[in-house]
Amino acid sequence: MIADQKTRSSKAAPAAPGVHPRRLWSVRPRSDREAGDAVVSNFLLHWFPAKSYRASLAWSYSFWLGTVSAALLLLLVVSGLPLLFLYVPSVERAYASVKDIEFVVTFGSWIRAVHRISAHLMVAAVFLHLVRVFLTGAYKNGVGRNQKRQWNWVLGVALLLATLFLSFTGYLLPWDQLAYWAVTVGTNIASSVPVIGPTIRELLIGGRAIEQPTLIRFYVLHVLFLPMIVGFLFAYHMWRVRKDGGLARADRAVASSEPRPAEPSPTKTYTLLGVARGTAPQIRASSLGSPAATVNSIPDLTRRAAIVVLGTIAAVGILAVFVRSPLEEPANPIITPNPAKAPWYFLWLQEIVTDTTVHIGPVTINGAFLGGVLLPVILLALLTAWPWLDRSPAGAAGAWFAVSRRRQNVVFLLFVLAVLVLTVIGTFLRGPYWHFYWPWQPWPELPSRI
């Protein structure tokens, strides 16, 4: 391979600057220049810097949760493509087509399981990624100039919402009882918004009942619009990471390894194809060359990225063999399963809705508005605006549990804990009529026809 490279480069005319003779990256670059060239010349790797901060690559800093989310997104797209050929988005055929995918399509059951497991894991991974970013204060700007990490945080919140909505729209498609009633619960919560609630619900489901218009609406959102939105947001998210000078941890590494010089030091401007000239963040060049702080992106960053992406694929692939995707009875608007549950990631809200529904004598105060609308909207607004509300010093960026951010981290963790506890209760401990059942208490037997 290397010998081949040598002969080719010796024969070829001297390359123009910026024109790179190799189209694939070298797994074992012979020099730092070759390592850098491999990144710059490669389309797949163009979003990586030539050199990365060693600290940013640490397993224990980011847990690589963003990469895990991206790998799951990749799996979702790849496993969704064959399903596009097999699934029929009509109320008459949807259920039967999913049955066929389950029973007779070669690898069909596995592909569907991969798609479903990836979707659930992606909701979890994106949420955990958000928790990590909050706890490390990574939405904070560090030492680089013109950093706008707070906007990348907003993009991240938008990505979380898009992920949730993608998962929710996919939930309806099998057109079984689970799908139908989860979406019924979900959209009924939306209708509890004062005044415009019923209109929102009607817009969402394309009518007053969940029917063919709902299915085609959810289907088109699920396979076309939401993936487009997620793809766009994801690209923007990654671009901003580069623009902001990498992970917040990198700023920290720069700040701590170099004593602050008295005079302005020479700076290097990073641009992306020159488009962002002038507004690109600037990082002091003296810290960039420090061999202890940085590593070549190839192969150190790419190798770890490969471990995470391939590891995620392998884990999901194995899980999909053992965890079968459920498919309940065909959707039946007349029979409500008991209990009727929203998708698991909304169960903390359903739990709050039922807990805040109070019966005082004959009067019932419905908790749907409080638990289903008001609380999530407030939480979401707080979450989005938090980077501007957080007044801690820049030094707290990129550090786990920074002392200056202790109070907000504790409050945030309490919220996370509450959401997790309510989700666990809603998922595992709620039985028929939303009664509480411990795991060792059997649920009442479900009746069958014959």
Binding site: P29, R30, S31, D32, R33, E34, A35, R54, L57, A96, K99, D100, E102, F103, V104, T106, F107, S109, W110, D176, Q177, P291, A292, V295, N296, P299, D300, R303, R304, A306, I307, L310, G311, I313, A314, G317, I318, A320, V321, P326, L327, E328, E329, N332, I334, I335, T336, P337, N338, E445, L446, P447, S448, R449, I450
Partner: protein, 414 residues
């Protein structure tokens, strides 16, 4: 010389990536292997063995392999049962153990497999290709295989295979008696004997004290109250217990206790569960009234024609096409000419007498009289006589009408 910075990262990354790669390859092998794990592979192998043993290796080689299905488009059923039950239409496996048994020929005569599929009669999940999902009262599938196993689970009193009759009666619900459906026939007899219609509407007829039972089989299992039912919670078990002692399940019911035996109660429960709106095309249901009923006027007219002077023409079937106006017979179709003037008409149209024409008819009448209304020479003689009578009556009516009209117009002329 350009320098190459050594990676300061731990050296473990490389082996970790190698391990991930191995796991990835292993997972690929795992899912490829798991996709091949199906019961039918074993059953098809075993059936080939049986055929080879009985009928020779040549026959065994010809057996198709892989997933197979029967597509009954009118019922929208794709039944993959024959993937394992390959012997269904083979001869010589009548005594073999399932899934290698030949299907009894009797029911298939009137219920060709390509028109009915398997699950429309037997229940079960036709989409599935593994035994557990295909047969069992599998989770999330409400149409279990109505076979001996389930019958034994319910300790059916008589025929352990009787549950299948529930599905027979989805189509045969308007039959008084269906051959081979003993339990359902018994239940239908009980419905008449015990006077269920005194309180319940069944098929549009009956009292209104109790609920309408016409589509009671569609009631979902979740809609029954199981609070007082001991044992298995199912719609069938509920009906059996309810038929045996209604008040035990519904304390304030007015339904009397008929002191039915277990077998009778089970038969009635099967009948009740069969009364459902299964999406079956109309021609799958025998006994369904498929004509639009006659109005009372039409019935009275027909009765008059049958007993009046033109009765012979009605009984013989001439009136299907011909009116005989002079005798008061009016054809519903009126395709042919009025026979009141047939005696004249045959002369003017064919140049032959009526006798001659009936003996050697031409045109349409040649076809009708040779296939549909075959008359003996005696009957033909009667026909000629009746036609002459009709003509005589026609002439008489014409004469009296002319007399009446001249009588009524005379005073008007000065």
């Amino acid at each position: 010389m350009e320098k190459r910075t050594d990676s300061p990262l731990p050296k473990t990354d490389r082996p970790i990536l190698a391990i991930v790669g191995v796991v990835l390859v292993a997972s690929t092998a795992l899912f490829a292997w798991s996709d091949r794990q199906h019961d039918w592979r074993y059953y098809q192998f075993a059936f080939r063995g049986q055929v080879a043993e009985k009928l020779g290796a040549e026959k065994a080689r010809g057996i198709p392999r892989g997933v197979a299905q029967i597509w009954a488009p009118e019922l929208r059923r794709a039944d993959r049962c024959i993937t394992c039950h390959q012997a269904v239409s083979w001869k010589g496996f009548e005594g073999a153990a399932e899934p290698f048994r030949t299907h009894p020929a009797g029911p298939l005569k009137n219920h060709p497999i390509e028109k009915f599929g398997c699950t429309s009669c037997h229940g079960g999940q036709g989409w599935a290709i593994d035994t557990a999902e295909a047969h069992a009262p599998a989770e999330h599938w409400e149409e279990p295989l109505l076979g001996r196993e389930l019958g034994e689970a319910y300790s059916l009193a008589d025929d352990k295979n009787a549950l299948l009759q529930i599905n027979c009666n989805v189509c045969h619900r308007y039959d008084r008696e269906t051959p081979g459906a003993g339990a359902v026939n018994l239940a239908k007899k009980l419905v008449a004997e015990k006077g269920c219609r005194a309180c319940h509407v069944i098929n549009g007829r009956g009292g209104t004290i109790g609920p309408d039972l016409t589509w009671v089989g569609d009631k979902a299992p979740e809609q029954y109250e199981y609070g007082r039912l001991s044992g298995q919670k199912s719609a069938f078990a509920w009906h059996v217990a309810h038929f045996k002692d209604p008040r035990a399940l519904v304390p304030d019911t007015v339904m009397p206790n008929f002191h039915l035996s277990t077998g009778q109660a089970q038969a009635l429960a099967m009948l009740a569960l069969s009364w459902r709106r299964a999406p079956v095309p109309a021609d799958y249901r025998p006994g369904l009234p498929r004509t639009d009923p006659q109005t009372p006027d039409e019935i009275a007219d027909e009765q008059r024609m049958k007993t009046g002077p033109g009765a012979w023409f009605v009984q013989t079937g001439c009136f299907v096409c011909h009116s005989i106006a002079s005798l008061g017979v009016k054809s519903p179709a009126q395709i042919g000419p009025d026979l009141s003037t047939a005696v004249e008409d045959t002369q003017s149209r064919f140049g032959r007498t009526v006798d001659d024409f009936l003996r050697e008819p031409t045109g349409t009448m040649a076809v009708v009289l040779s296939r549909q209304i075959v008359l003996s020479p005696d009957q033909k003689a009667t026909a000629v006589q009746k036609l002459r009578e009709a003509f005589a009556e026609h002439e008489r009516q014409k004469a009296s009408a002319a007399a009446a009209s001249s009588a009524s117009t005379r005073p008007a002329t000065p």
